[in-house]
């Protein structure tokens, strides 16, 4: 069990570290024994390697690899960030919130800004991802790595389609399911949705590394990733403004019970949403910076 956890902790290290030290570290774990302390030490070391990467190690990656890593980091963060936006939309969907947004300019402005930035980020996402998807699909037949990544992504999409269909059927069943059953259904659907989205993001990462991608497409993806990251930061700021505006101007609405179980209240729900946004926007910004630097440094001279 500990050996498996140690391998998992080793897998958490950045690619450049795994490539340079992975074999040696695995050998050391075998020699020392995979104790719980060794696993914890590896996990802490992996976090440190991500937060404070050693330039000599991280710099050993090729430009194309840096772009791929950065773009895939933004992709994964965007998936989780989008889940937070969905939670924000669900939290503020009642007519009372629309009325508050109409009555208070700060709330209305923050909400509109959030919506506009979400649309722009989604467009940038599609613009950057579409050429990569087309390239990957064109190579899926010849490259087994790309084919496996594509199958994983298709599998994830199929799971969420089936889950959504099942939810729709159960929700419209006669007699109607109880309130508790509906809540459990919604919570389950959200969990499956997030898991499938993460699966798609990981499949995209595998595909990015397995496919031969022209430098121009990588540069476009890096630019779009930067746009998405900027929009994510903007959306997080807009959410903070909205939360502060709600708490200070519409106190009663801010303290109404919220969520599937009516607990916690709107303030706490939005604070949790904001925390997820910040926790994903920061690594997305770092990933976009890495991708952008890799792209402007010259990109790949040839495909692959």
């Amino acid at each position: 069990m500990n050996a498996r956890l140690a391998r998992l902790a080793l897998a958490l290290y950045p690619l450049a570290y795994r490539r340079r030290y992975g074999e040696e570290m695995a050998a050391l774990v075998e020699d020392q024994g995979a104790s719980p302390r060794a696993v914890a030490d590896l996990a802490r070391g992996a976090l440190s390697a991500h937060v404070r990467p050693e330039p000599a190690v991280a710099g050993a990656l090729g430009r194309g690899e840096r772009v791929r890593l950065g773009v895939s980091a933004v992709l994964l963060c965007w998936v989780l960030f989008a889940a937070a936006i969905f939670a924000f939309a669900k939290t503020t969907e009642e007519p009372a919130f629309r009325a508050a947004a109409s009555a208070h300019a700060v709330l209305g402005g923050a909400h509109s800004t959030l919506q506009v930035l979400f649309v722009l980020a989604s467009m940038a996402f599609l613009l950057g991802a579409a050429p990569l998807v087309v390239i990957a699909l064109a190579q899926a037949r010849k490259r087994p790595g790309v084919r496996r990544a594509a199958l994983l992504a298709v599998g994830c999409v199929a799971v969420i389609v089936v889950a959504t269909g099942a939810v729709v059927v159960v929700a419209n069943h006669d007699p109607a399911p109880s309130e508790g059953a509906r809540t459990a259904l919604l919570a389950g659907w959200i969990l499956v949705g997030v898991a499938c989205a993460i699966g798609c993001a990981l499949a995209a990462r595998r595909g990015l590394f397995a496919a031969a991608i022209p430098a121009a497409a990588l540069r476009l993806a890096a630019g779009c990733a930067a746009a998405v990251a900027v929009a994510m930061i903007g959306i997080a700021v807009a959410t903070l403004v909205y939360l502060v505006g709600l708490v200070t101007s519409v106190t009663a609405l801010a303290s109404t019970p919220n969520g599937p179980l009516g607990n916690p209240d709107v303030r706490v729900s939005l604070l949790l949403v904001l925390m997820v946004m910040v926790a994903t926007a920061v690594p997305a910004a770092l990933g976009a910076k890495r991708a952008w630097r890799g792209a402007v440094a010259g990109g790949e001279r040839s495909a692959g």
Binding site: A9, Y17, R20, Y21, E23, E24, M25, A26, A27, L28, V29, D31, Q32, R37, A38, A40, D41, L42, A43, R44, G45, A46, S48, A49, E54, P55, A56, V57
Partner: protein, 106 residues
Amino acid sequence: MRYISERSTDPGLLVLASLAEGPKHGYAITQDVEEVAGVKLGPGTLYGALSRLEGRDLIEALPSEDRRRPYKITAEGSAALAEQLAMLDRVVDTGMKRLRAAGATS
């Protein structure tokens, strides 16, 4: 046996002191440090220190033996180790004198 992290004793110093004896691979370094200093370097801590030392050209990797790659201290590493140990020596010397002085007056 104490299990140290980067927040306590500087693992880089311990690794340099270990490699001053001659080239060693990861496990041999941890064994030596445990024997000499009484602390156990975890794999994450050890390789964090090795990557930093290597990045600063204080150590260099030798050709891999099986999956275990030995490291050796460089000339810059030896100089850095001597400088740090001299500083620590002054700290130890001053600290001991002050403790003795405090013991005499109390």
